[in-house]
């Protein structure tokens, strides 16, 4: 008999249907991968199992755990199921932990709550659970606080909390989305090992087909609250019968068509760039510095697309801000078209005019109170004689059409658009002054795969038509591989490897690059058609 059996689950919030006829099953020792884009209902399915639904939600159907229908249980009994029978792992380990409690206390709390153990016994169990989550006490005492750990270590604490009572079912909702690739590989290995050793069932929810393909025994693909396709992983990957599944896979492996590289003169030149941050100093201690960018030198040629890859904290964001003239430099110089970017004070608008930027978060990139036309015209501030009247209307229309939006959208507010459309508006804003260089700072990282494929296609198309130069900053290797000519790999403030994208990916010279490429989840070669 299967461990978890979801039968014909319907769920609606305030009468609006969210899940429709979802039927899934999961056996002990098995990994069920649930894939879907944002809003497909994959998280809501997990929350329905835990009965942690928002107010106004109503369920029909059955959710059987070991034969017991969870939907029929009173809340008090449900509290016993949560944490004891079903453990949950969340996406963002920082917010899933209480910053004021030690990691030992947090893990012990779950045990004490469910098994009524003494404090000492609970701590012993917490110690064991943390060890199972690969945080041995010798290196990570139980008295540590969450802020003393890295992102991956925090996620291990969250996992330890989930497995402390040895639950029969683990639900992991995007457990590695907030983590770097190498950390992601470690956490996925840990989860795989836990399933094998403890024989629990794992429901793994992710937007990333490659992650799920490498982990799951069976896969369910969800769209708009429905399971469109499910079955054993190998079979699903081979067949992909439903058109949506095919589209999803095509988008995951998408590489936009790119024209020939026009390498002109040097556009951007960074030479020995150093950026130090002062650390808080003790009373009598000498001033301390943290070197975020450490002697970085590189050039970008006009018309080129350069990738900058690195994990969080490697200094790539600081470097971006320095190029944009928003950070003072301690040493070195940055030149665009031969003119130095003066980072120590005001940057001349005439120099700023050469570059624009697109940020990661499509929701935070716009002043929510301004209309699209005002938003995308902001860079005109750099011009001495910004266009007015008909000329301005034409500039707005051109920019919106270039990114595939309609001219009528100019009167709308940003909240009226989806994430992908907002990213198009951000690109329109970057384009409107016709800069030479566009810096794309994780510009597609927050987007669903199908939307990401569209935006990447748009970027490639614009580059071909307008002769743009891109600096493409990302932690996502597959994205960098698909859209850049050359790539820089950054680690701890230094560039460790530089070269043609294809050459670097095929034969990495630096061990760190090799490690990054190895850790990145990949779709199995040659599946489907």
């Amino acid at each position: 008999m299967s461990l978890l059996q979801i039968e014909g689950l319907h769920m609606a919030i305030h009468g609006q249907p969210i899940l429709r006829d979802v039927s899934l099953s999961l056996a002990r020792g098995e990994v069920l991968g649930i894939i879907g884009e944002s809003g497909s209902g994959k998280s809501m399915t997990a929350f329905s199992v835990m009965r942690l639904l928002p107010r106004g939600a109503g369920c029909l159907g059955a959710v059987r755990l070991d034969g017991r229908d969870l939907l029929q249980l009173p809340e008090r009994q449900m509290n016993n199921i949560r944490g004891r029978m079903v453990g949950m792992i969340f996406q963002e380990p920082m917010t899933a932990l209480n910053p004021l409690k030690t990691i030992g206390d947090q893990v012990a709390e779950t045990v004490r709550l469910h098994e009524g153990l003494s404090r000492r016994a609970a701590w012993d169990r917490a110690r064991a659970a943390l060890a199972r989550a690969e945080l041995p006490e010798e290196s990570f005492p139980l008295t540590r606080y969450p802020h003393e750990l890295s992102g991956g270590q925090r996620q291990r604490v969250v996992i330890a909390m989930a497995i402390a009572c040895r639950p029969a079912l683990l639900i992991a909702d995007e457990p590695t989305t907030a983590l770097d690739v190498t950390t992601q590989a470690e956490i996925l290995n840990l989860l795989r090992r836990l399933v094998q050793e403890e024989g629990c069932g794992l429901m793994l929810i992710s937007h990333d087909l490659a992650v799920v393909a490498s982990m799951a025994d069976r896969i369910a693909i969800m769209r708009a609250g429905e399971v469109v396709e499910q079955g054993p992983t190998a079979e699903i990957l081979r067949q992909m019968q439903h058109p949506y599944s095919r589209a999803l896979r095509a988008a995951s492996a998408h590489a936009p068509e790119r024209g020939a590289v026009a390498t002109g003169e040097t556009l951007l030149n960074c030479d020995g760039v150093v950026r130090d941050y002062a650390l808080p100093r003790g009373l009598l201690a000498a001033p301390q510095h943290f070197r975020a960018v450490d002697g970085v030198s590189f050039t970008i040629k006009r018309g080129e697309s350069l990738g900058l890859v690195g994990e969080s904290g490697c200094g790539k964001s600081t470097l971006t801000r320095a190029i944009l003239g928003l950070e003072p430099l301690q040493a070195g110089r940055i030149e665009i078209s031969g003119q130095p970017i003066n980072a120590n004070g005001h940057v001349d608008p005439a120099i700023r005019k050469h570059m624009q930027v697109v940020f990661q978060d499509p929701y935070g990139s716009f002043n929510p109170r301004h209309r699209v036309e005002r938003l995308i015209c902001e860079p005109f501030h750099l011009w001495d004689d910004p266009p007015v009247g008909a000329a301005r209307d034409k500039a707005i229309a051109d920019a919106l059409e270039a990114v595939g939006l309609s001219v009528a959208d100019r009167h709308k507010f940003p909240h009226e658009f989806s994430g992908g459309q907002r990213q198009r508006i951000a690109i329109a804003r970057a384009l409107i002054t016709r800069p030479d260089l566009i810096i794309l700072d994780e510009a597609v990282s927050a987007l669903d795969v199908s939307v990401r494929a569209q935006v990447l296609g748009l970027l490639a198309d614009l580059q071909g038509r307008l002769g743009l130069t891109y600096l493409f900053i990302s932690h996502d290797l597959s994205v960098v591989r698909s859209i850049t000519d050359r790539v820089l790999v950054m680690k701890a403030g230094k560039i460790v490897e530089e070269g043609e994208t294809r050459a670097v990916f095929d034969a990495p010279a630096h061990p760190y690059t090799a490690q990054l490429i190895k850790a990145a989840p990949r779709l199995p070669e040659g599946v489907g058609g």
Binding site: R352, V357, F359, R369
Partner: protein
Amino acid sequence: MKGLWLGAILVSVFVGAALLSLVWVPYDIIQMNMAQRLQGPSWPHPLGTDHYGRDMLSMIMLGARTSIAVALVAVGIGMGLGVPLGLTAAARRGGWIDEIVMRGNDLIFAFPSLLIAILITAIFGASAVNAIIAIGIFNIPVFARLVRGGALSLWTRDYILAARVAGKGRARISIEHILPNLTNLLIVQGTIQFSLGILAEAGLSYVGLGAQPPVPSWGRMLADTQTMYSIALHLALVPGLSILLTVLGLNLMGDGLRDLLDPRVRRAAR
């Protein structure tokens, strides 16, 4: 939602009374009428009369005018000076301007407000104008801190970075991008400060530091009739309840507006 409506009704009753008093009051309150003194509520005098035989309803209407005018101007002073200071401090975070503004705020916060009001009136004399200045000064740090805090979190947004990349200066960004996104915060805090201003005005008048006779004021109505409560209870009840209901109304309105305007609270309230 109910709170917001109840608050709005209470506030509009008193604001309406104050506005009406600009053109009409039932009786002239300069005239004493000893024959009619200390009467309870009746048809000719719905709220009774005081120890000089003056109509209490007329006194309350004129007192509402004083209270609302004092509190409104005081909040205006607080916002007018506090908001630019807060914006400047946030734009120059960690710089010397920030230090001066915030330490200045601490200095004002450290003094008991009544003490400063007594100081001001001791130097310049007791009057409604000086009460306004005293209350206004204490509103400055409230708004400066609120705006600085809100602005600091906005300064980290990507759209601020985008504006900086577009070459816009700190002052321009503060006015164009920061301030409009703080209006909700300011409306809510303004309502709360307004109610505190009414309380402060009543308190200052009670100790004789607010509006001077013959300008009526709720605080002084309470003080003047202090010895007569045992023989005519309405003398205390009428101005006391006026203060209470106005402040209650403004607070309900402030909370209601916060629920309505702040998306984080709005979600939780449902």
